[in-house]
Symmetry: C2
Subunit: 363 residues, 2 copies
């Protein structure tokens, strides 16, 4: 593949950004304090205690997120669910690590903005509000004049795609911090108490694999397995692994979460980390979509461990690394539908499970 | 446990029932004829072909059920979904093979009829109509005068519980056939084109394990594994296995599907078999709930293999045998929530996935 020169010129200026982010305080949830009371209410109709299986655990988690006083907790109330899809490009796409050209990111974003993607249909069906956030798509997002957007686009571009991580860090530390803060800021202005978080961006899963490998000590070859569903063939898989080894080797000194994010992450990942932390600090339920959002959840948990209780993993995708990531997060996703797309599809599919959990506690 | 005398007196008369059931003709579905066209429509928005994973497969299955002419298939239309919960008791409960006394069946049925069970909440949430069918509860179902039923009860009792299968066949061949026909008849009078099928009845899973073991050649000890979620302890598991071995040994000559059903099945299982066959013959989508309904699906498939294309397996329960059953049916369930209850809970939880599939093909 072409070795694009380091695109210094496409960065946007980041003014006066501190080297360390201002992270919000997150209150630790305490499901155990509620467990006995909820089990009694759930089993009132003569089903055995554990009959509801993981649905019962979901009830407990949602209750713990919303219970400010466990003695007076009455019911789960899910209000005005929001879906944020963070879009960004990755310089490493130049290395041919994806089955799709980088331009596919923009096309997918345009489809979403015009209401033509699969995710738009499920957004309507499930009663979500969708916003697309341009965290760092490689080009200016511009819709044709005769097709105005039906979905709001938030302009938060940190840069026109990250740098090629086989040649340099994906972004500067200041850019990573700016991404975190932008993600936090986007969430601050959203209504509701449920936030689903997904992403779109060619080669995003390559970055997720690198983050998983570095932060969890997973072999890179396991973290970026081959997947036929993505149209990847054996040669592509081999090339991807080889280029990611090169990137991991170049950034071998990056081990702290923010360093890993800056070295091998992406703008959308940085913003998702910030969005998750902010949402949890406001006691929102955070519904985490696919593998790339999962990598953001991993970083978020490293930064503020208390975020954990607010994260609901929506699904396990067909990305082999996603399974390992969920194991390391010590969590089970609600669905396992072998989806191979981000954009919040899995989160939207899983949403009715949260509604069911809410309903079970209604008087 | 007490060895109840063979309760011949509690059978209801079965008049002039033929030894072989009149089974409806079922048209074989042909998903492959639709595959190319649907893939094109689903991937119109630039997602790769297999991106939707098992959701895409569900779209294909539902389309194949509804497509009378694959060249003119437009959209999936799911109308007026119905949930039938078949209730029955099993004489083998006398042998202490369940963590619950037989009386729990009646209590659960009453809760459902009075709208107090978990399933009632999800029925409302998902927009289903629920009917409870008394296929053979051991007592007369009677609600207190001051608590009229909010859910219709269909009186189709074949007998007051089956016989204890460690001592005799569960039911006569004529009763099995009567059960099949009753199940078919119940479905004939239902509106809509989606039928979810669940069951309730203490020791039903013991019968399901025996059916699975006999029809699929699965070791009985694998088919009736221990499950802590059901409140079963080690001693109970040991007793259950021992008593089921005795039953399997007594009925070792039963190998044909209807013989297995009569020897070791239950009234609710017989009716579910009939209901599934009838629903498929009317091209309804059949959403199969838990392990016991799965055993009915197994028998239905033995009787009329074409039923297969109409069955959507809703979930994998925490019953160890259920996993094996699904493997033998060569199908994957939509959900894996470790539920340990029947009554259609898993089917109701899985329903939004069908709505999502429907929505993806809408113009």
């Amino acid at each position: 593949m072409s070795s694009r020169p380091m695109p210094l010129s496409v960065d946007l200026p980041v003014k006066d950004m501190p080297a360390a982010p201002r992270l919000p305080a997150i209150q630790k949830t305490d499901p155990r304090a509620l467990e006995v009371g909820l089990q009694q209410r759930l089993s009132a109709s003569d089903e055995p205690g554990a009959a509801l299986g993981r649905l019962g655990q979901l009830v407990l988690q949602l209750a713990a997120i919303q219970a400010t006083d466990e003695r007076r907790f009455e019911r789960i109330t899910l209000i005005s669910p929001q879906l944020l899809v963070f879009a960004a490009d990755h310089g490493v796409a130049d290395e041919g690590v994806s089955a799709f050209p980088q331009a596919a990111t923009l096309r997918r974003v345009l489809h979403m903005l015009q209401g033509q993607a699969s995710v738009n249909r499920l957004v309507d069906l499930q009663g979500f509000e969708l916003s697309v956030v341009d965290a760092g798509v490689a080009t200016h997002i511009r819709l044709p004049d005769d097709a105005p957007p039906v979905v709001p686009l938030q302009l938060r571009k940190i840069g026109y795609g990250t740098r090629n991580i086989t040649l340099s860090p994906a972004m500067s530390r200041a850019q990573a911090v700016a991404g975190l803060h932008a993600g936090m800021d986007v969430v601050r202005h959203l209504p509701g108490n449920v936030l689903a978080i997904g992403s779109v961006g060619v080669a995003g899963s390559a970055c997720a694999s690198l983050i998983l490998s570095r932060l969890c000590g997973v072999q890179l070859s396991d973290a970026c397995g081959v997947n036929a569903g993505n149209g990847q063939d054996e040669a592509l898989a081999q090339r991807k692994l080889e280029r990611l080894f090169a990137a991991a080797s170049r950034h071998r000194k990056a081990t702290a979460p923010l360093d890993v994010l800056a070295a091998m992450g992406g703008y959308e990942i940085a913003m998702m980390v910030g969005a998750m932390l902010q949402a949890a600090s406001e006691r929102r339920v955070v519904l985490v979509d696919g593998f790339v959002a999962g990598a953001a959840a991993l970083i978020a948990r490293c930064l503020v461990p208390e975020v954990d209780g607010y994260l609901v993993m929506a699904h396990r995708s067909s990305e082999p690394g996603h399974r390992l990531l969920l194991i390391h997060l010590q969590t089970q996703p609600l669905l396992d539908m072998e989806l191979h797309m981000g954009q919040g599809m899995g989160a939207l599919l899983a949403w009715p499970m949260l509604l069911a959990a809410q309903r079970l506690l209604e008087p």
